[in-house]
């Protein structure tokens, strides 16, 4: 055990001194920051402050339009359609609305925009046109406008999310976006770190083997200690990295966000960040053990890359299917992948974030995961024992798996 810790300490130093480690540690927070700020930015960037809408004709609509666009934005009355179009092309106006006399009765009205993607502006203008035309049509038909409003306005849906604790108000679309982006950020981080550390360990084992240092190491320590030391050392570095990131995220949520007046997704809570770490640890050990075994079996880096393909594909499942897991966290597919150990750390994390499953499901999934980690570790130690001393011949994955049975 003492030897294992010495190896771990050595490997930790080697990892922490690595350039990749520093780079990832620095980039990680930006990912988190992006996750925290994107939804808020997306919501507030709808109609940029200062957008000007050109209006041709239809003076009656102007006051309503001005107030709907809100402060900063304005309406520019123009005489003819041509200059309005030119202004839009020049970028002078964000959009132009052209109202011919009697437009209230028309089935469509031209609305010019250069991008066509400013949904917020579009919906605001559309709402005003809709309301004004409705009132005009009502008065033409001799119906009181209030009556029309009363008839047309149905009850709005008030979304209340039910959790284990209590029903709480949430802001609908914003909340969904927040969850999705948080989940994506977390999954990205997990995927990135697990894969990078896995490859780091695979390569380090391979190097030990090709440089022949392993014979000296094994004259001092057992293969098991060497394997676990090589996994544990970078793991500690990884945890330090996560701690740093979480501090950044919480800092962003409590200081930077409010200071900039942007709201942080409600899902970026300390509890959820803790879940991230809880699932990162076994995921790290599982994939590192697998990679260590592959590194021991590989002949060179290229060979290691080939052997690792199946691993990467399995690890990519949660990435590719992230939408399915977020939209239907309780579907059979989601549940299956949240128990399957190679994907469960990420998929169960998604489920916990989106709609917390019963505690026993989390506990069961986690237990399966831990058992798998131990199993992978002992299998890796065997492959390590046999594979690391053999050189000179490329081996197929099947052959490496056979070594598991070797004494």
């Amino acid at each position: 055990m003492r030897k294992l810790l010495k190896i771990a300490r050595h490997e930790f130093r080697a990892t922490a001194a690595n350039k990749a480690f520093v780079v990832i540690t620095l980039i990680g927070p930006f990912l988190i920051l992006a996750v925290s700020l994107l939804p808020a930015l997306a919501a507030s960037s709808g109609s940029k402050a200062g957008s000007v809408v050109a209006l041709v004709g239809g003076d009656a609509i102007r006051p309503a339009l001005s107030s709907a666009l809100g402060g900063g934005s304005s309406v520019a009355p123009l005489a003819d359609e041509a200059s309005a179009k030119a202004g839009v092309l020049d970028g002078k106006y964000s959009a132009a609305l052209v109202l011919e006399p009697g437009w209230e009765g028309a089935s469509s009205i031209p609305f010019y925009s250069k991008t066509g993607t400013d949904i917020m502006l579009y919906s605001k203008v559309s709402a005003v046109v809709d309301a004004v035309s409705r009132q005009a049509r009502a008065s033409v038909s001799g119906v009181a406008p209030e009556v029309v409003d009363k008839i047309l306005k149905g009850p709005a849906l008030d979304l209340r999310k039910l959790g284990a604790d209590q029903a709480k108000k949430s802001s609908g679309v914003d909340d969904y976006l927040g969850i999705l982006l948080t989940v994506m950020g977390f999954v990205m981080l997990m995927y990135m770190t697990v894969l990078l550390y896995g490859q780091l360990i695979g390569r380090s084992v391979l190097q030990e083997k090709t440089l022949k240092t392993v014979e000296i190491m094994l004259s001092a320590v057992s293969p098991r200690d060497l394997l676990w030391g090589k996994i544990l050392g970078p793991g500690v570095a990884g945890l330090i990295q996560y701690a740093f990131w979480i501090a950044m995220a919480l800092g962003a949520a409590s200081v930077v966000g409010p200071a900039l007046g942007i709201s942080i997704p409600a899902t970026l809570t300390p509890a959820n960040l803790l879940w991230l770490v809880v699932f990162f640890v076994p995921a790290y050990f599982l994939y590192s053990a697998i990679y260590a075994a592959l590194g021991a079996g590989a002949e060179d880096e290229q060979h290691l890359g080939q052997l690792a393909w199946p691993v990467i594909i399995v690890l990519m499942i949660p990435m590719v299917m992230i939408n399915t897991f977020v939209m239907t966290p309780e579907s059979a597919l989601s549940v299956f992948f949240s128990f399957f150990p190679l994907t469960s750390p990420i998929v169960m994390l998604i489920r916990v974030l989106v709609s917390p499953p019963p505690a026993w499901e989390i506990a069961l999934s986690y237990s399966i995961l831990l058992v798998s980690v131990l199993a992978a570790g002992s299998l890796a130690a065997r492959v390590f024992r046999v594979g690391i001393l053999m050189t000179g011949k490329r081996r197929k994955l099947g052959e490496i798996i056979k070594w598991v049975g070797a004494r």
Binding site: L211, K212, V221
Partner: protein, 316 residues
Amino acid sequence: MLEAREVRKSYGDVRAVDGLSFSARPGEIFGLIGPNGAGKSTTIRMAMNIIAPDSGEILIRGRRLAEEDKSIVGYLPEERGLYRKAKVEEMLLYVAALKGMPEADARKNMDAWLERFGILEWKSRKIDELSKGMAQKVQFICTVIHKPRLVLFDEPFSGLDPVSQDILLDAMLELKAEGVTVLFSTHIMDHAEKICERILLVDKGREIVSGPLAEVKAKYGRNAVQIEFDGDASFVAALPFVESVRRFPRWIEAQLRPDADADELFKALAGRVRVRRFEVVSPSLHKIFTSLVGDASPETGTDAESRPEETKGGRS
């Protein structure tokens, strides 16, 4: 201290080690000698429990190398391997720490060895920057820094210049004097001849001869004569009682037939060449080896043959 009992190991059809038995004792230098591919490294790796024998066993302190015993064992593998990016100091202290030596002691030993090998100023340089010979010395220090009681050197001299080889030989003699059990393998018989107490000559995984060096020499020797002379002595090889002749730049070594007397040779030489030295010697280890195994190169060959050990090609 170290005992091998009937160890065998095959790689496919090739019998790398075929029933070797030997033992190395404290305060003794034991030489495992043979050409390339004779099974020396395989034997040492089996002793280190890096590969398992097919049958038989190698015991260290009466059992297969156990984790607890690793701290008293030093091992210099044939294929050198140090962490290239590590500093000399880091590498040495790391290995010493894994062997369970307190850092202060390890530092003291490290400095003493580095000083002795004249590479103290390279202490905080990266292994990458060392020359091959320096790296080899560092590797040697790696093997002995934790003051092991048993050391196994696999081809410790390869890649070293003669001066460095002598430094290493001295260091090994010193270890022996401290009561350490030293086992080393080499294909260079001269080295074995210089420092070994006991030897095991192997070829193709099999024992050729073993025992105390002096005994081996006594058994196979006593009938060789070294002659230094002026003139043409080529007739010597043709004498009926001479078995073979090895030529060196300044002298020849004649191996006489078992029943022959050195006197006969002396008489035969008299008057035909001017003898400056006439010495009855035990034959060199190389001579013994080739006489037992047979040698591809003719023993009555030319003078060019000054590195006897290179004449024997081996499986590799």
